[in-house]
């Protein structure tokens, strides 16, 4: 792709993903707190696609061959950041789910025990008889 095409690609890509993000937020499928990282990354890609100076800076300072490569690199880095943030979020959520499941099991025990107070007190649960 020549340079003007890569700019167009960058704008289309970032604007489409921004539109998608707002669409999902509107339908409450995506919460604002998780949308923020998408919005940030997509705005950066949009800005960089429109103003090529940053890409040329990367070419000279980082030794990247062409500005389109630099744009691809930024988009890739952005998506990696987003993926990473979701891995972290998933990890925290799985801790929550585990704890909730444990709480439910403990609650069920309490409820069942309260429903049959006399029987439980008589029987106990010891293996000895």
């Amino acid at each position: 792709m020549n340079y003007q095409n890569i700019q167009i690609w960058g704008v289309v890509f970032s604007v489409s993903l921004l539109a998608l993000t707002f669409w999902f937020m509107k339908r409450r499928w995506l919460q604002e707190k998780y949308a923020l990282v998408w919005i940030l990354v997509m705005f950066v890609i949009l800005f960089v696609s429109l103003r090529s100076s940053v890409l040329w800076l990367m070419v000279t300072i980082l030794g990247i061959e062409t500005p389109s490569n630099a744009l691809y690199l930024m988009a890739l880095a952005g998506l990696v950041i987003i993926s990473y943030s979701f891995s972290i979020i998933h990890s925290r959520q799985s801790q929550f789910y585990r704890r909730m499941a444990q709480e439910i099991a403990l609650m069920k025990f309490e409820i069942e025990r309260n429903q049959n107070p006399m029987k439980e007190a008589e029987k106990g649960n010891s293996r000895e008889r």
Binding site: F22, K26, E32, K33, L36, F96, R99
Partner: protein
């Protein structure tokens, strides 16, 4: 009017007893529900010892989810009014009686106690005040209101608001967004002046980076309420 006072509390063992006592003094006719947001101290036990109901959340979820848990309770048990009084002692329950009277008399759906309506000398840190002023400006611009304290959690609401917020309530820094949701669904919100103490027990949980993040997130959330369809709340 059957009223529930919801007291979100996180590690407020030092002050929870006096808060409960003051609520009983201010609104003796109300039921009190302390929602324990995963405290690691004896907040829950101390509240239970005072004879109030306590919901023990399994882990810390923040003020939004905590208060909403109380609202779900209020809805399920058919309360007419639900009030929020924070467990840290910042809100003065004696003002609560005034809030309730105002709710009885006017056609508003929610009465909010505002720190900035004249009475009392509530000094907060400068950045916080700037943040609060920003949200006042934003909400007043978008919804043509005159709110002065959009971050105040000290409020009473009727069944329409209970119905709306028990279904959907923001989880972090919920108050400004909740106001936007209320306005958007056609509810009337009134403010009356009240005093708030500086935090008596515990430590504030917000630092600068988090504050910036919340400002952006809440602004985005408020703007998103405009994009969603109006929700008519029928009770």
């Amino acid at each position: 009017m059957k009223m529930l006072v919801i007291v979100p509390a996180f590690n407020e063992a030092e002050v929870i007893e006096s808060v409960i006592g003051e609520i009983r003094g201010g609104v003796p006719q109300a039921d009190i529900l302390v929602v324990n947001d995963g405290s690691t101290d004896e907040t829950s036990q101390k509240a239970k010892d005072q004879g109030v109901w306590v919901l023990d959340l399994p882990f810390n979820m923040g003020i939004g989810s905590t208060f909403q848990a109380g609202l779900i309770f209020a809805k399920r048990h058919g309360y007419d009014y639900a009030a929020q009084v924070d467990g840290d002692g910042q809100h003065d329950p004696r003002d609560l009686a005034r809030l309730v009277l105002t709710l009885d008399k006017t056609k508003a759906d929610m009465i909010v106690g505002s720190r900035f309506l004249g009475e009392g000398d509530f000094s907060s840190t400068m950045p916080r005040r700037q943040g609060i002023r920003f949200f006042s400006w934003l909400l007043n611009l978008l919804f043509r209101t005159r709110v002065t304290d959009p971050t105040s959690g000290f409020r009473v609401m009727n069944q329409r608001a209970i119905e709306l917020f028990s279904e959907e309530y923001p989880s972090d820094y919920p108050e400004p967004e909740a106001l936007a949701m209320a306005y958007r669904s056609g509810m009337k919100v009134m403010e009356i002046p009240c005093t708030m103490q500086a935090r008596r027990g515990g430590v504030s949980s917000i630092n600068f980076a988090r504050a910036c993040y919340y400002m952006v997130k809440v602004t985005l959330a408020i703007l998103m309420t405009l994009v969603r369809p109006r929700k008519k709340v029928l009770v």
